[in-house]
């Protein structure tokens, strides 16, 4: 980050001191679009992944075998690299992809043109689906690790006090899993905000996610673009740091609520 920071404040050859790269962002509407686009991808994919993970963990909570099967399935998904997952979703969801051909075969669509645009669209559906497929299992594993016998014993205890399934989820499971959920969401957000592969392969040309924009600028034949590329890397780092700070504050509050200290 320090090297990127220094490079972002220099000219294309890494000499001198200048804020011109950052000043350029202020006058470039594409930067704001890219920032919002990346925030949208990270926020949506993290929220949906967290909701899905909570739902499946809650659904199998009572069954030891269910928890073991869920953990195995989640670990298997984690083993697939993001690049491979993004490529697979591209092959599945593109206009000429497998799903499009299947829907055509069963008569639901008239052909690729009739299939909804999921890949390379300003609405990053394929990117989000890839991330949810990859990150929901990650959050699931984090939640399962925090879903200790002590939490399950508490759930049993409050059953005898009149708490049904939803109330147990609200009053026991969620509060006790909240620290792990917060940490998992932070890691997920940080990764999806800074990751390159999925938005590069499945995203639209405009707007482009910040990491894609940064890599493209860094690869530019114009050396003068390099400070802007490094400045984008710094911006990405700053956003993640801000989110980490917020997560740390939330975690501290949750801990205080649990310990009363």
């Amino acid at each position: 980050m320090l090297l990127a920071g220094r490079g972002s404040l220099a000219d294309g050859l890494g000499r001198g001191w200048s804020l011109s790269a950052y000043e350029g962002f202020l006058h470039d509407p594409a930067f704001a679009d890219s920032l919002l686009f990346s925030l949208k991808i990270a926020t949506l994919s993290t929220t949906v992944s967290a909701a899905l993970a909570l739902a499946v963990v809650g659904a199998v909570s009572a069954s030891r075998r269910g928890r073991a099967a869920l953990e195995t399935a989640a670990r298997a998904t984690l083993a697939v690299p993001h690049l491979l997952a993004a490529s697979a979703f591209g092959l599945l969801l593109s206009g000429a992809g497998l799903v499009s051909r299947l829907t055509h075969a069963v008569g639901w669509t008239d052909g690729p043109a009739d299939f909804p645009v999921l890949v390379a669209d300003p609405v990053p559906s394929a990117v989000l689906l890839t991330y949810v497929w990859k990150e929901a299992p990650f959050i699931t594993i984090m939640l399962l690790a925090a879903y200790t016998p002590a939490v399950r014993d508490l759930e049993s205890a409050v059953r005898t006090l009149g708490a049904g399934r939803l109330r147990r989820l609200r009053h026991v499971t969620l509060p006790l899993l909240a620290p792990a959920l917060t940490e998992a969401c932070l890691l997920d957000f940080a990764f999806t905000f800074a990751a390159y592969e999925a938005p590069a392969l499945l995203g639209a040309t405009v707007p482009r996610a910040l990491p894609v924009e940064a890599v493209e600028l860094y690869r530019s034949v114009e050396l003068d673009d390099r400070p802007a590329a490094l400045a984008l890397a710094v911006v990405i780092g700053m956003v993640i740091a801000l989110v980490a700070l917020a997560a740390a504050t939330i975690s501290r509050r949750l801990l205080r609520a649990r310990t009363g200290s």
Partner: protein, 373 residues
Amino acid sequence: MTSSSSAPVPGLSLKRITVTYPGHREPVLDGLDLDVADGRLLALLGPSGCGKTTTVQVASGLLTPSRGAVHLGGTDVTRIPPEHRGVAVVFQQPMLLPHRTVLDNVAFPARMRGRSRRDARTAALAQLERVGLDALAARYPRQLSGGQAQRVALARALAAEPAVLLLDEPFSALDPSLRHTMRDLLTTVQRELAVTTVLVTHDQTEAAAVADSVALLDQGRLLQQAQPADLYARPASLAVARFLGCPTALPGHVTPQGRFACLLGELDLPDTVAHRGPGHLVIRPEAVQVGTGPDTVAAVVHSARPEGAFTALVADTAAGPVHVLLPPGTSPALSEHLRLRLPVAHRWVVPDRHSPAGPPSINGVAGPGPAAC
């Protein structure tokens, strides 16, 4: 098996409950029948692994039995889930919600019943006053001692206004003086509210101190259910006698005249012994005395070890070893010959048909005692 006679309407009734855990061949509970009279306190006593906690789980609905039925006030609740059953449990650990204050933990059951936060907290405060912890209402569970946390757990269970209160060894993690305090608190609260209560314990002193009746469980079966004094004085089997600290068991038989014939001769029995035929004479160690005279039997000291201020003595007689708890100040030497008085009022005969164990081994002693005593 004897049964407590003062049981008008069972508040809680377990009927032929059988529980077999997956992967286990032997059932944890094997056709268990248990009745708890409405508003009374039953102590469920037994060694570790005998099925006490499983019984609590079945009664509370946390575990569905393989066979049998659970009745509350005469209604079959076997298929009713715990949240709708009206049975509150105080577990061995307090099980308080760590992210809630003491007050909100106790208010939790009322909130689950749909009462407003203000009403639930008012009711919770009253329950905390009952257990003497209203001053700690604003604390979090981690700021409480073990005894305080269990009192909060008791207050929370009472706040659920349960039809039946189950306590699963709630005091076992506390130090002895605190256990006494908690026992007194439980007894007071239970008498005051007259809530049907089952206290699970492996401590016979605790059971005898607080319970209206005691049920002794072993290997998933009910050995005996009776009032504490009856259980001590008239055990139904040698297993019950031994568990209750009465290891003396002299083999013989009860004559048609109501006397116990054994290698010590014919011993008188109290009128309460109705059994006739083969059996074992049992007598509690603390009832046996060292003495002289025609009503004593000859014995040889086999072993002696201190037990607090007392001395636990095993003396061999012609009929078998007799366990004696001697008061402070008397400590016979090993192999010393002495005479033991077995007070008639404390004698009891366990019929042999209930005795899974064989007769105790007879170590060598100096001849039989008097022909009759």
